[in-house]
Amino acid sequence: MNQPEHPLVIVEHLTKHFPITRGIVIQRRVGAVQAVDDVSFTIARGETLGLVGESGCGKTTVGRTMLGLYPATSGTVLIDGHNVHTAKGRELMAVRRKAQIIFQDPFASLNPRWTVGAIVSEPIRVHKLYGSARERAERVQELLELVGLNRRLINRFPHEFSGGQRQRIGIARALASEPLFIVCDEPISALDVSIQAQVVNLLEDLQDRLGLTYLFIAHDLSMVRHICTRVAVMYLGVIVELADRNELYENPLHPYTRSLLSAVPVPDPKAARQRQRIVLEGDVPSPINPPGGCRFHTRCPIAVARCAGERPAWRELGSHHFVACHRA
């Protein structure tokens, strides 16, 4: 995969800290949750970049901060040339049109008091994409069909649908503004296995038909390998490795990536018995007080003295394969 000259999405040194305050009348800042720390990557048009990691690694925060849903503590995010955090007025509306998001929880991501039609037509109304109410309704029905739902369900409420169907409604809503880029924040984690396959196939079809670009945030490494073109691995707020899909899975360089991959269960009993598991000790440290130097050094099986003191540099080792590790 070539690195393009004009990627659709450019994230540079993105940092997001959530302040922890104390005090009743005047709030003093006593610390911060360092959710995302100096994260950089690009996404090319038509590509699907996977962002994986375990809970607390900051991947969801990256997705939301990238779209400006949280203000960034520092760093820049450019989507189709627009700076997300400094855009105002018309330009901000343009960003909101071009970049959309699908959430993990199909129950919480739809307003329970709105009909499906109202939910899916909101982006159309807000961006004034079609003039008359009738045109809007027609467009909503088209979108419902596009995601595989019966168009006559336009007046039903979310609670009348199953989880997989609600997720489709969420996808229809994301498509309504005719976006270029969609952040998929764990879109299938809450669904049953057979429904996951349906939704993933749908996302792929839509990408082919509409030329979409995805950031696919997930913790299911098997699914990420299946759907993504490149994959970035996060740990405690930093990206530790980034490579083309097969390269990452077949030749992982970072010790965390290696242990993560070895922990993923494989539906094959013989392979499972022969596996060399690299089991990490202990729990993930808190992002309020992350370890100094390389954040992974406290659990790393090959850490040395340097790892505790010095933060590893982001280096390219091999074609388009980046790692942040002193020992790689």
Binding site: R97, F103, A108, E122, V126, L149, L153, S162
Partner: protein, 321 residues
């Protein structure tokens, strides 16, 4: 969620792809639950009767009749011509309770509206925007909260009590003091609702469907009005219902103290005031205060029952349908 709850929740009711009749809407479910609450149904019936009494009763007596003084008939106990007796200036108490009821109920309703508008506005803005605006609004709310409401009522009544002229509305003329009373009660009782609405907004603001609306580019006021408010209706409805009762009681207090609605316009509250001005009257002419008092009690109780019923019916956690 227990396994049983999960088993019941997961069982799909129908595949929405088949266009059968949809299951009960939230509104139908709420009504069903309300119907089961016996006290609430009793309260509703009482309320309907009381409203009927006050408004249809006006067909039997004109307002002039209610205000007609005839000192030769003063202080008569209940009789056939005057089923509730007469007052100190010979006015028919039954007729006065009818017209007084209209005003009392109207005050209850309009004061509730003032309270809901102010309370929701402040609560919504404080809850949604947070930060210094929230801190400012909440300190203000707390300050008003802390001042004893009766004291506030009295002070405001004294200051603004006599400023407004009489008005005519719906074929009736009444003292401008009604408006003053409504405003005073409304502006001194919004704080509780503001707190509740703010809490709801703070919790709903972080829900994913709100984030989705922000990601869509929906402007803030549309999010507040279209997304968050409809999901806050339950506590607002319950609070509004109960505040009608509270407003009627507040009106009785200030009228009783002589600072509410001025005669000749009758309200149940100021009828109590006339009754209490002389201790011997309380003892010797109980019909003065028994009837208006009874009506106040019945109204307030019924509204409270209805409010309780609504609170249970609207509680999303109650699974009984």
């Amino acid at each position: 969620m227990s396994v049983t709850d999960e088993a019941i929740a997961i069982a799909p009711r129908f595949a929405a792809d088949e266009l059968e009749a949809p299951p009960l809407t939230l509104r139908q479910l709420t009504w069903r639950r309300f119907r089961r609450h016996k006290m609430a149904m009793f309260g509703t019936m009482m309320l309907v009767l009381l409203i009927f009494y006050s408004f249809a009763g006006a067909l039997f007596f004109t307002e002039d009749y209610a205000n007609l003084t005839d000192t030769s008939l003063r202080l008569q106990p209940p009789s056939r011509e005057h089923p509730f007796g007469t007052d100190t200036v010979g006015r028919d108490i039954l007729a006065r309770t009818i017209y007084g009821g209209q005003i009392s109920l109207l005050i209850g309703l309009t004061a509730m509206l003032v309270e809901v508008i102010v309370g929701v506005l402040i609560g919504a803005i404080a809850g949604y925007y947070g930060g210094w605006l929230d801190a400012l609004l909440m300190r203000f709310t707390e300050a008003v909260f802390v001042i004893p409401s009766i004291f506030l009522l009295i002070v405001m009544a004294k200051t603004f009590g006599t400023e407004i002229p009489d008005l005519s509305l719906l074929g009736r003329t009444f003292s401008g003091s009604v408006i003053v009373v409504v405003l005073i009660i409304g502006l001194t009782s919004w704080m509780y609702l503001a707190r509740i609405v703010r809490a709801q907004f703070i919790s709903l603001k972080e829900r994913e469907f709100i984030l989705a609306a922000r990601a869509t580019g929906t402007p803030a006021w549309q999010i507040i009005w279209g997304h968050i408010l409809p999901n806050t209706m339950a506590p607002i409805i319950v609070s509004a219902t109960l505040s009608i009762a509270a407003a009627i009681l507040s009106e009785s207090y200030i009228s009783f103290l002589g600072m509410g609605v001025q005669p000749p316009t009758a309200t149940w509250g100021n009828m109590l005031q006339t009754a209490s001005s002389d201790f011997t009257k309380i003892q010797n002419a109980p019909w003065f205060w028994v009837f208006p008092g009874l009506l106040i009690v019945l109204t307030v109780l019924s509204i409270n029952f209805v409010g309780d019923g609504l609170r249970d019916a609207l509680d999303p956690r109650s699974r009984a349908a």
